[in-house]
């Protein structure tokens, strides 16, 4: 296929604003969980971008809250059919890994996280393709607390450790 437009994207000098800022990143050198604490409340929304070789659910915990403080909805495709599920008063399940050939990727938005007048919504686009198996889907979690979010912890489902190489980056959006 011929290539029409070739753009040199290695140039510099683009305007960089403070509207989308990198706050912190963690890459696991050994198995464990990942916590971002003392998150400033100076942004409007947070975005989380991550990759992991986990073959299980990635679980989110806000402000150190464990147990059934979250509601959950999911829409998932497994390559042959689409399915939907929901649950209440559960853990914060946000992205389902499917194997180690390809990393599971997820992009999560934590909306209006510093607002103290409403419950918080977490929405995620995730996917894991293994060249013959895999999942792609959307989740939404409701954290049933009006507190501002100042810490986020990521686990494997049931508060287990995440694998080596898991990388999660936290960004703030003005």
């Amino acid at each position: 296929m011929p290539i029409l437009g070739v753009i040199d994207s290695g140039k510099s000098g683009h305007l960089v604003t403070n509207n989308y800022s990198s706050i912190a990143t963690v890459t696991l050198a050994s198995t464990g969980t990942i916590t971002f604490s003392s998150i400033p409340n100076t942004y409007t929304h947070l975005q989380i971008r991550g990759i992991t070789s986990l073959s299980n659910w990635v679980q989110i915990g806000l402000n150190g809250t464990t147990g059934g403080s979250y509601t959950y909805h999911e829409l998932r495709g497994n390559g042959s059919s689409a399915s939907a599920s929901s649950s209440i008063n559960v853990e914060g399940l946000m992205a389902l890994g499917a194997g180690t050939t390809g990393y599971t990727a997820f992009v999560t938005d934590l909306l209006d996280y510093a607002n103290v007048n409403k419950y918080k919504t977490v929405r995620t686009l995730y996917g894991s393709d293994q060249n013959g198996s895999g999942n792609v889907g959307f989740t939404s979690n409701l954290y049933q607390s009006t507190s501002a979010i100042n810490s986020i912890t990521f686990y494997q489902n049931s508060y287990a450790s995440l694998p080596v190489g898991t990388t999660i980056a936290l960004y703030g959006i003005k």
């Binding site: 290539i3 437009g5 800022s21 689409a82 990393y103 990727a105 996917g127 894991s128």
Partner: protein
Amino acid sequence: MAAGATYVPIATQTLGSSASSVTFNSISQGFTDLVVVSSIKPSSSASGYGPSFQINGDTGSNYSYTLIYGNGSSAGSIRASSINYARYGSGGSTSTLEADVTHIMNYSNTTTYKTILARFSQPSADTGAFVNLWRNTAAITSLTFYGNDGGSIAAGSTFTLYGISAA
């Protein structure tokens, strides 16, 4: 926590006339993730598959994807394995622009295969998401986007490439 501004526009291409493809070449390795925001319509209807892209000029059977979609009356999911392209869009209309956002995660890593998420919205046809796997550990230095069946993209389509740097 220290915060650094990021989400940098790297390059934009707007098609004044139909083009056989759109390429971002010589992509800087100075970011963590890439995001491509596109507003596109293919030049012709699909007989086989919808809008696609290739990485680093790789035309081999090193791609696979899993798709979930909804078309207004039903939802479904399909998969393709060991094919020679990745997917980013619907391609369900040649008259209405669709909005697509493609996330290329950890693109400069040289030890892992690359996972690419793509969210598409074609208001005349369907909406959904792809997860693509490119089975290659090379850093990504170029991206080439096509319309339906590897064909051309119509005038008025736009592509913008952004870079995101993690702290």
